[in-house]
């Protein structure tokens, strides 16, 4: 890959613009950035979330169109419904079991390259999205912006899906298909570990 002179100029101008920064006078609402960063970090702070979200992307990439785009579009919306329950203080039994089970089943789906009908895949992923969303929504820190916290964890979740899809592009090669199955096995093993930990 080679970079043209135009890109060099564009980068230079971008840096100059940043060096010319003025102070912002708005600051009408304090604590917003903290809310966004907390939300952004929440899905990344638990390996169980990370494994399951990356597995969604891996599975979508394995299954190809339309799964590859339907799952990442549907997941945040259903996850938000789970988050809604969490925000509203409505408890959901067996959250930790649900999250661990999501890693086990999604990992197994990748490992065995399961190809269900579109509706079945969407329902399975959506069902587990509720558990993940509830865990995020239930842990909104006091005093932080709910909107930016929500945006943070939705974006972080989407980025984890994108990571899975990115890794999943190796599916076009034979060795890649094998490697993806191994990755699915690792996710499922992680899920078993978290399920074991969830038991009292």
């Amino acid at each position: 890959m080679r970079i043209t002179r135009q890109y060099k100029w564009a980068l230079g101008m971008a840096v100059l613009a940043m060096l010319r920064a003025e102070s912002a006078f708005a600051h009408a609402q304090q604590g917003q950035a903290a809310g966004f960063l907390t939300g952004l970090g929440h899905p990344l702070s638990g390996l169980d979330h990370v494994l399951a979200m990356v597995a969604v992307g891996l599975w979508g990439a394995q299954l190809g169109s339309p799964f590859i785009w339907l799952l990442p579009v549907a997941f945040p919306l259903v996850m938000a419904m789970g988050g809604m329950l969490g925000f509203m203080g409505i408890s959901l039994p067996g959250i930790e079991y649900g999250i661990a089970a999501s890693a086990i089943l999604l990992g197994a789906a990748v490992m065995f390259e399961v190809r269900p009908p579109l509706a079945v895949a969407a329902i399975l992923v959506g069902f587990f999205a509720i558990f993940h969303g509830h865990a995020h929504g239930n842990e909104l820190p006091m005093g932080q912006s709910a909107l930016l916290y929500s945006m943070g964890f939705v974006i972080a979740t989407g980025c984890l899906h994108a990571t899975g899809i990115g890794i999943g592009t190796i599916h076009r090669w034979r060795w890649g298909q094998t490697l993806l199955r191994v990755a699915g096995a690792v996710v499922a093993a992680g899920g078993v570990f978290f399920m074991w930990k969830a038991f009292p």
């Binding site: 003025e22 102070s23 006078f25 579009v73 945040p76 709910a146």
Partner: protein
């Protein structure tokens, strides 16, 4: 054409981005230039996600539908925002209604995620309502100081830019996966709206 290697570019970029990470206080003395209120309005909009995100969603939606939709949104949203702001200046201070804000997120994010085939007329109505509502809230929150008109002008300028850039970017997208990525952004916006709605209803 002269080229840079990726390695050299990455080193230059790392250094260039490290320098702005150690900023010194900005002594811009905007009072002397008279531009302060304009920047106040501009930055207020850019730092208010409740305002920026619905505008962004509308711009992306209009961009997905095509250049004529983008052009319509580009002029209708800022003009409606200005009108709403002027109306708001005459009103007493109004508190932002979080439930209505979340409904804007849900509506525009949902339409974007579904890649809804709206008519130009419906898009225009949506753009006008969005501008009037948010402009009114901004205007009513500005108080009665002498420089609010300049602040409103800065705000409207920021709205224009936030509509223009994303819409123009999306209009040019032809690759399927890039258009799907825009729809994924819509689902994120709708999801955030749903969460905001639940938080608002819990708060009572």
């Amino acid at each position: 054409m002269k080229h840079l290697s990726v390695f050299r570019l990455s080193i230059s970029a790392t250094i260039a981005f490290a320098v702005p990470l150690c900023p010194t206080p900005a002594l811009a003395h905007l009072n002397s230039t008279g531009m302060g209120p304009i920047y106040d309005g501009l930055t207020h909009f850019l730092m208010s996600p409740e305002d920026v995100v619905p505008v962004l969603a509308l711009a992306l939606l209009a961009g997905l539908r095509g250049a004529s939709y983008g052009r319509r949104a580009l002029f209708v949203v800022p003009i409606a925002w200005l009108l709403g702001g002027l109306l708001g200046l005459r009103a007493s201070a109004t508190n932002d209604n979080v439930i209505l804000s979340s409904i804007w997120f849900l509506l525009l994010g949902g339409l974007l995620a579904a890649d809804a085939k709206l008519s130009l007329r419906v898009t225009t109505v949506l753009a006008a309502l969005l501008g009037l509502y948010h402009g009114y809230l901004n205007g009513s929150g500005m108080g009665a100081s002498g420089y609010v008109a300049a602040a409103l002008l800065g705000l409207v300028f920021a709205v224009f830019v936030v509509v223009a850039l994303p819409a123009a970017f999306v209009v040019r997208l032809r690759v399927a996966w890039a258009r799907i990525a825009v729809r994924v952004a819509g689902s994120w916006i709708a999801a955030s709206g749903l969460l905001l709605l639940s938080w608002a209803t819990r708060r009572g």
